[in-house]
């Protein structure tokens, strides 16, 4: 029981949609070619190869389904927000798919007309008395209801975004508004248009009642085409504005996901893979609430605005936004698209031109020097620090020799006793301790780490007790990659010459640099939270539990940067009672001292620190613990309660 209602299966009203659709398809094709052209040869080959890999294909399809259609990350953030996005995306997708299925099912020869499945109800009259027909009618109306409920939520969100878990939303551009309103209009208009034809072409629980309710108006066949024209026009306006608005994320994300899964990296801030990232930003505004810079005023420096300025190629504003960022990565860890905001900024920073570039040739002289009289220099330095800490140089030397003898003794003991755990026992490995630049402003960190190392009796030496070379991360973050490499080389040489198998780092910033940018073969880079937690587990370091309430601050580079959340917490839990911060782990708030920001002023930093401290002290802890010397200095300046370093806490609670 079905036949085509319209002779020639064409009506003028399909034209606006058709032209809009062709425009979007051409634009996307052009954009795709442009992005592929901008990739380097290796990147392109890597991308194509990954498209042929079956495991990757499955992963791509899975990611596209869960990220683009279901918006899993938004569901996790706020169920209502998740429902809003997935109802529109998945609902619309299902409407399109069902339209095509219906066409294919009833009149396959019309599949080649792109507009036909979209306006199927207008062209075809199908009986709802068969099971298949009734099912199609029901599903179409069901998904229309799903989309309409999503649109309803979207309208509601415009007025009360807090109910959907968003304090602030993005300031849209004029074109964004055009696209937004046309998108809102598409589905009510479709409902009305299908309601008009429901009397003649059939419908289900959504379309038939509206046809009956407004029967005197809707039964008039002259109104039918007007309704379908309106629907087609709304679609057309949306299609024509799509490439220039945030809705470009819909097609681009389908490209971005395979590119990311292929392992491509951002090189230029607005070329190739980065361009795919820019166009994938849906301006949802999750990054605005996430950004620690936008706490006291409406931030114009959040990632969503950076993306906008990068797209517009506004150099001055782009630079401002790129240089201000703390690089704490909170926005990208919460971003539903996982846009590499820091990588994009870094790429922009590295494009800056400087007349005078740093040159660290002078370090070579230092390296040659230290290789010659390495031991003498180190001993002199060790003696000096001992003198400072104990106040009695003779006793200090004696005790240091004592501890060395003890440690060697223990090493022999451990060699003799344990055979199985030999390889896993990190306490018996030779450790090189690198404190980092920032630690020289907080000597308590170094002192505490040294005390802990002595207490656990491991064999260790200092890498930078005297003069030290920066790890290179600040240079890297300022976009001076080549200069950072010089420092990496210099440090690598020192580390390899030391013969140590563990590089112990007490600074989160350095740790990330060593982990990501150094290739230290045979040397395991460990953050002191990992290392001391391990030593406690092995029983080499014994701590007692105090009655103090601690709160732990996740340093950006350690938590979001390197994924270390558990180790410090485990260790602190043994030394006292650990309370929760307002927001922690992935959502921890940067202390405000970050070396990542180049242009943030002192006053702005103070505000960020203030807010970060408020967040840490919601559960009234006695002491704030952090595992980064920079966070320690920053907090200590402003905190009303005690701020201590991780190692300091362990030292205080040593058995």
């Amino acid at each position: 029981m079905m036949h085509e209602r319209v002779f020639g299966s064409f009506d003028l009203f399909v034209l606006p949609f058709l032209v809009g659709m062709v425009f979007v398809l051409l634009f996307c094709l052009f954009g795709l070619l442009r992005i592929l052209y901008q990739l380097s040869r290796e990147e392109r080959l890597k991308f194509y190869a990954s498209l042929l890999n079956p495991a990757n294909i499955i992963k791509n399809l899975k990611d596209i389904f869960f990220d683009c259609l279901i918006h899993v990350k938004l569901w996790r953030r706020n169920p209502l927000l998740g429902y809003m996005h997935s109802s529109i995306a998945f609902g619309w997708f299902m409407l399109i798919v069902l339209g095509h299925l219906e066409t294919w099912f009833y009149i396959p020869e019309r599949m080649e007309l792109i507009y036909y499945p979209i306006f199927f109800r207008y062209f075809m009259q199908v009986s709802g008395t068969t099971v298949g027909g009734a099912l199609f009618f029901f599903l179409m109306d069901f998904f229309l209801l799903v989309v309409l409920s999503g649109i309803g939520l979207a309208v509601f969100k415009r007025f009360r975004s807090r109910a959907l878990g968003m304090k602030r939303t993005t300031r849209l551009t004029l074109l964004d508004y055009v696209a937004l309103y046309s998108l809102w209009l598409i589905f009510p208009l479709r409902w009305i248009a299908e309601g008009f034809t429901a009397g003649v072409a059939g419908g289900s629980f959504m379309t038939v009642p509206i046809n009956m309710l407004l029967s005197s108006f809707m039964k008039n066949p002259e109104n039918i085409t007007i309704a379908w024209w309106a629907y087609s026009m709304a679609l057309s306006i949306f299609m024509f504005s799509l490439p220039f608005t945030r809705y470009m994320h819909i097609p681009t994300e389908i490209l971005l996901i395979p590119m990311r899964n292929a392992g491509l990296k951002v090189r230029r801030h607005n070329k190739g893979y980065a361009l795919a990232q820019l166009y994938s930003c849906p301006s949802c505004g999750v990054c605005i609430d996430a950004c620690p810079m936008g706490l006291h005023r409406r931030s114009a420096d959040a990632t969503v605005y950076m993306v906008r300025q990068f797209k517009r190629a506004n150099q001055a504003r782009s630079l401002e936004i790129a240089e201000k960022c703390l690089m704490c990565q909170k926005c990208s860890s919460l971003c539903p698209i996982s846009i590499d905001a820091t990588e994009l900024r870094l790429a922009f920073r590295s494009r800056q031109k400087y007349n005078i570039l740093p040159d660290f040739q002078y370090l070579k002289r230092y390296l040659a020097l230290s290789a010659e009289d390495d031991s003498a220099y180190a001993q002199a330095q060790n003696g000096q620090t001992e003198e400072n800490s104990s106040g009695n140089p003779v006793m200090a030397v004696v005790s240091s020799i004592g501890s060395k003898v003890k440690s060697i003794g223990q090493k022999i003991m451990s060699l003799g006793s344990s055979s199985k755990e030999q390889q896993e026992n990190i306490g018996s490995e030779k450790v090189l301790y690198y404190a980092g630049c920032m630690t020289s402003l907080t000597p308590v960190v170094r002192e505490s780490v040294e005390k802990l190392l002595k207490a656990s009796g491991v064999e260790w030496s200092n890498m930078d007790s005297g003069r030290s070379i920066c790890c290179g991360r600040p240079l890297f973050l300022s976009g001076k990659m080549e200069q950072a490499r010089q420092l990496v080389e210099a440090n690598s040489e020192i580390i390899h010459n030391s013969g140590a198998s563990i590089l112990l780092v007490s600074c989160a910033i350095c740790y990330r640099m060593f982990k990501e940018k150094y290739s230290l073969e045979g040397v395991r880079v460990m953050h002191y939270t990992e290392y001391f937690n391990e030593l406690i587990k092995e029983g080499r370091l014994k701590v007692k539990r105090s009655a103090l309430k601690y709160v732990y601050h996740d340093p950006c580079d350690l938590g979001r940067g390197c994924g270390i959340y558990e180790e410090p917490r485990e260790a602190i839990e043994r030394a006292g009672h650990l309370v929760k911060a307002g927001k922690e782990r992935k959502e921890s708030i940067c202390c405000g001292g970050s070396v990542g920001s180049l242009a943030l002023s002192y006053e702005e930093r103070v505000h960020i620190t203030e807010h970060s401290l408020e967040n840490l002290t919601v559960n009234a802890p006695d002491c704030i613990v952090t595992a980064c010397p920079l966070c320690l200095t920053t907090y200590a300046k402003q905190s009303e309660i005690k701020v201590e370093d991780f190692a300091q806490v362990l030292v205080e609670n040593l058995k």
Partner: protein, 108 residues
């Protein structure tokens, strides 16, 4: 004119040539905070590069203000941008950005 028995000596410290002054003024435009510097030397005392080289931000700023930039500028090549000077600065000057601006504006 009354002779008081003493006279004003011409300043030997400041020797500003027009071109050099122009650069300094440009620097002040980009980094207004540079005028806040009170030459306390905290930056120089905490400097990582200062352990190896002549790098001394206090001296550099003073030299730029006085127009002796050819002698002082080479030291800006040594900076590792570690940011300690930024933290210790009692005047809250963004020293890292200042150094980067100097690297941008001036030429050796």
């Amino acid at each position: 004119m009354v002779n008081f028995g003493y006279g004003l000596t011409p300043s030997s410290a400041v020797k500003i040539i027009e071109g050099e002054d122009k650069l300094y003024r440009k620097l002040c435009e980009m980094e207004p905070d540079v005028k806040k510097c009170m030459a306390c030397g905290s930056c120089a005392a905490s400097c990582t590069a200062g352990d190896f080289t002549e790098m001394n931000l206090r001296k550099l700023i003073l030299s730029l203000q006085r127009g002796y930039y050819q002698q002082a500028l080479p030291m800006v090549k040594n900076c590792m941008l570690c940011g300690k000077c930024n933290i210790v600065c009692p005047r809250g000057i963004n020293t890292r950005h200042l150094i980067m601006s100097i690297q941008k504006i001036y030429n050796l």
